[in-house]
Symmetry: C2
Subunit: 458 residues, 2 copies
Amino acid sequence: MAAERMVVVGGDAAGMAAASQARRLKGPDRLEIVAFERTGFTSYSACGIPYWVAGDVSDRDALVARTPHEHAERGIDLRMRTEVTELDVAGRRVRARELETGREYWTGYDKLVLATGASPLRPPLPGIDAPGVHGVQTLDDGQALLDTLARTKGRHAVVVGAGYIGVEMAEALVRHGYEVTVVHRDEQPMSTLDPDMGRLVHEAMTGMGITVVGGQAVTEIRTGEGGRACAVVTRDAAYPADVVVLGIGVRPRTGLARAAGLPLGDSGGLLTDLSMRVRGYEEIWAGGDCVEVLDLVSGRTRHIALGTHANKHGQVIGANAGGDYATFPGVVGTAVSKVCDLEIARTGLREKDAHAVGLRFETVTAQSTSRAGYYPGAEPMTVKMTAERRTGRLLGVQIVGREGAGKRVDVAAVALTAGMTVEQMNALDLGYAPPFSPVWDPVLVAARKAAKQIRTAD
Amino acid sequence: MAAERMVVVGGDAAGMAAASQARRLKGPDRLEIVAFERTGFTSYSACGIPYWVAGDVSDRDALVARTPHEHAERGIDLRMRTEVTELDVAGRRVRARELETGREYWTGYDKLVLATGASPLRPPLPGIDAPGVHGVQTLDDGQALLDTLARTKGRHAVVVGAGYIGVEMAEALVRHGYEVTVVHRDEQPMSTLDPDMGRLVHEAMTGMGITVVGGQAVTEIRTGEGGRACAVVTRDAAYPADVVVLGIGVRPRTGLARAAGLPLGDSGGLLTDLSMRVRGYEEIWAGGDCVEVLDLVSGRTRHIALGTHANKHGQVIGANAGGDYATFPGVVGTAVSKVCDLEIARTGLREKDAHAVGLRFETVTAQSTSRAGYYPGAEPMTVKMTAERRTGRLLGVQIVGREGAGKRVDVAAVALTAGMTVEQMNALDLGYAPPFSPVWDPVLVAARKAAKQIRTAD
């Protein structure tokens, strides 16, 4: 039997995890694997870029989990700086273009993996492409920003957007000695949280000397000497900027899939089944930042660009494409981040998400500490918990605090996955010792309060 | 209607939480509450004593969550330094003795709460009562030890026992500048872990300059000048000791209950139903360190002396005795501790526990790090996971690592409670960002490995 041929489009986490996992299951005599990557990097941690820019990570190469050379050594025919420009589903082939030579060719597949990632939102504003304006999605972006920071003896930095990347980049720029202004459109920063919890982030960032300006859409990047960016302009004001970082978010990079008629969801991400097969296509899988995932709490698909999901998708695709069996059941929407010493975490539904799918709920907010109150380093922490009325089923948790706050969200993530009620959570046997927790863990304090509110609500 | 009368025996966490919760539900006109406490303290954190001795907590009073005066102000008739010496179940009364005056009296109850706690194991060895030999169960114990440490210009300290208290006290004595030897009977320290994980604790403690001697039962505390302890003697050796700390463990203090014929389990703890009512007694509740709790994983009752359980028991008892409804469904056996910068955690069954209840299982051990490998402060961590054969149901997790290791056990505690399989855990949506976790959380690394082993085991 001739070897089957698997083509992977995209050489970052999802694509190369799929290739590696398939290779583990089937040797080159049974499965030929060809992978295309537009950039010069494979399998790198985009999530690590803010920490590299901040100086926490000294070396760009530390962010690369596996180099092209290492993949090639494992019997993957990796074609770097080669873009896939067309997908012919009927003909089971893709058209590739070598970016350096311009050479184009068609190549066939038996199995196809789409792992084309996401592209940064880059609104078509005047000045958006000026020197001094930086995205932070790729290693090249990170290097360009570091070069600008090394070259510019600037004082003012403006970050556009106040999501995860925005707040992480604010910290990075503070560490470079800049006066940092974060300009964003929403009521509060971190719109992945409810506004009341976002307000706590706003207050903490202000306390760190970061200026946070909400409710303002950017209308222009003003340029000055040499055409370089010099200010970020909104309808209300202009914020001087020696350097501008865009952290507005990303969208699935699915032009190829769209042109080929593959099914896309409301956010523009590919729709797959639980085995990460593109719906309706037996021989095409998709994973990572280019797909929508099932939100197990709302029952809807969402686009979430996150390296941990991409890696899991890749594993699942590789297992299935390699003849084994695996599924990705979905997510509960867990995310954690930090800005300086502030930890921010969330899982499940925000209030508006719950409204949007017709859920009635109760919310509580509980203050607690990371350790026993008398133990050194006990830090205050706010836990917001949302539970469905009548059933008491947990719907979401948001946490804002200092050291020891963020990863506590994992307890809620598991409880959400298991469909627990807040009454059940109240009895959870969580680790207790004074250096690790008060006698009632902060998550339990919130669960107890939520359970009481549910009981008395109706 | 005349007020009902609730008598509480024991004024620490369980007893006073019960009293407070009942008082919240019923005012003094409807429920009279009388509480007896042998010592001079109420509602204190015994778990905090090692940290007070270590100097992390400067003030004994910080360990007292609520003073006798505060309880009295809330309408609880609190009788300090008064011991309950007899329980007359048929006559619904207890006999109390004022320790200072010697006065004795009977007093009746409609509802009785037994929260008599645990007493330290104190084997009847020669020298065990000598000056310089200290337990650390009560605030008085802690003060006596601190007095000894202040008075003695000693060099050698010996801790007998290598469980939670033993290793915490080893750290405390290191902090006081002592050369510390921990002498214990088991193969490895921390016998609440499997020996292979205990070995990691042993190695780490050795690396901290603590001498850990296993497999040795103490036969004598040798005394010297002035009758003071001067060495801890085993069959094999004598370990010089200017101060000796006993951390051998505790047993339920249930003499009163035993004499009254109440039902006790194999460990000597009171047996209750899910509402914390003593089995077979409608008007008697029991909670805290004097009861056995249902282990949800093994299906058996166990004795676990832990403040977090005691507080929950008290809440449940107070709710039920106050006319509301609550249950304590059981535990999964979660515990976390630290010795210097080493974090130690466990939940669920050890291998020998699983054997003892007839379970067949697979175990895996996974190495990982607390943060993304490239992020500063990423610390190595070992996660051991045990899952049932065939079903793949999680049975237990043990973690030994540094900062960021211990509380990760909570994920496993929730998964155990929910009855998850390791295959289900493998897909958990845990918080990921480089400062918080590698792209595969250490618990997921272990779950993935365990799931694979379960699949290939049969």
